[in-house]
Amino acid sequence: MDALVTVRGVTRVFAAKGAVGEVHALGPIDLSLSSGEFFAVVGPSGCGKSTLLEIIAGLSEPTVGEVFFDGNRVGGFVPRGIGIIFQDDASFPWLTVRENIAFGLKRRGVDTPTVRRKVEDALKLTGLQQFGDAYPAQLSGGMRQRVCIARTLVLEPRLILLDEPFGALDQQTRLLMGDELLRLWRETGATILLITHALDEAAMLSDRVGVMSARPGTFLEVVTTRWPRDRDSTIATKPEFGEITSHLWALLRAQSIKSIRETATP
């Protein structure tokens, strides 16, 4: 498969600020994402997972290295074709669900009949048909996150970056949202990069899982899951799922302890 995203030697160093000295947060990172792949990144807190996502998205610049999306160098802005879903609720409370989903399309000057059609399709795809005229405040956290997903999907991104999108949800809702994400991934054919701290989520959803070290984050190993494309949360009952999760934890345990010790050190 062709590489949709290529990350070459990306390193991020934050300059010294006040009493805090220079912080080497990430890298060097090399990564290649194939078209249509589902890739998850796990790692201890503060290892630079979100920094990596922001660099790939074009939200921030690497200190060293480069990122290519669809053959073009990423830098300074988010290229068309990349959709981002954040952990924090980014739905707009002053707009209805329908208006929220139409937001990006309208800003791009898409004609009204097309906007209407795409919004209705997205409502159907994300199971929000009954809530088109509701305001986000009338929805649960999981449904608000679905609104954000729908708002991203209508722009038909080829790469979807998710930064711990289910972090604020309870375990059951997270499993169900994971199922929905898998279904959307199959139906849209997009490439997904998921940042998560949940090992089971990474093991269940991804084709490959990149395991990162404590700061400065580098890939310790990229684990291939070998799940069929047509999968759902029931794979969590398979023995292989337990093996993958155990392997991920075996890789991460020492790193997590290191990360906690470093955070606790004044």
């Binding site: 998205a57 954040f86 409370p93 002053w94 937001f103 800003r107």
Partner: protein, 250 residues
């Protein structure tokens, strides 16, 4: 009708009725206060008095100019201070202590500068209102979550689209509070100034009626000012409630 509204109306109408009875029964001397029903009649008569109509026009024009100026300049200043942290650090102590300064003390100076016309009272109304707008603009912009700034980048929004479609609606409730306060402050500034040295306007007319023992006129004017302020504030309050209900109080 909600229970709270019913109780509120009962309290208001009860107080007005008690005042009416107290005035009619002579417990409150007519020289001190006329009955509320006569105040209402006096308000109606005001609209047949060309001098009062001219005063109303003068006052409402001054308020409209001072309020409009305070809203626009206050918002732009707030946005500038937000965008330039160094300027904000300089301005912060001034903004924090601004309302401890009795702006009216500058009224004689403004008359020296601009003359005995509508400008000094308009400036006072503006000076009273502007800081409420600046402070609330800053509050609103400070509370725009980081994720919205990132979302703006994710949707490739330019500065204008980001401001109009994302940042302003997000900061809306705070800007609304600033506007509500600015309305009240501009009324206080303009009408208060007219009491002191002005040669026209509702404040001047109330003061004139008071000094000449024209109780009917004075209470009619006071009631008129109260009604205007209450109607404007209730309208703004109702509008704000609709907006906030949509947001679920967020």
């Amino acid at each position: 009708m909600r229970k709270a509204t019913t109780i509120r109306l009962i309290v208001i109408f009860g107080a007005v009725a008690a005042l009416e009875i107290a005035c009619r029964a002579g417990w409150i001397r007519r020289f001190t206060m006329i009955p509320p029903s006569e105040m209402a009649e006096s308000v109606v008569r005001l609209f047949g008095n060309p001098e009062v109509l001219s005063d109303m026009r003068q006052t409402l024009t001054a308020i409209a100019i001072s309020l409009g100026g305070a809203l626009v300049v206050g918002f732009l200043t707030g946005a500038f201070l937000y965008a330039v942290p160094r300027a904000r650090r300089i301005a912060d102590p001034l903004l924090a202590t601004y309302y401890s300064v009795p702006v009216f003390v500058f009224y004689p100076l403004l008359i020296v500068l601009f003359g005995l016309n509508a400008i000094p009272k308009t400036v006072i109304g503006f000076l009273y209102a502007i800081v409420a707008m600046i402070i609330n603009t800053l509050n609103g912009l400070d509370r725009v979550p980081d994720v919205y700034w990132k979302t703006a980048k994710a949707y490739q929004l330019g500065r204008w689209n980001r401001a109009v479609h994302l940042i302003l609606p997000c900061a809306g409730p705070y800007l609304f509070t600033g506007a509500k306060l600015a309305v009240m402050y501009s009324f206080i500034g303009v009408i208060g100034s007219e009491f002191i040295l002005s040669s026209g306007g509702l404040g001047y007319r109330i003061s004139f009626a008071y000094n000449n023992f024209q109780s009917d006129m004075m209470y009619g004017l006071i009631l008129f000012v109260l009604l205007v302020v209450i109607v404007i504030n209730m309208g703004l309050y109702a509008w704000e409630r609709v907006l906030m209900e949509r947001r679920g109080g967020r």
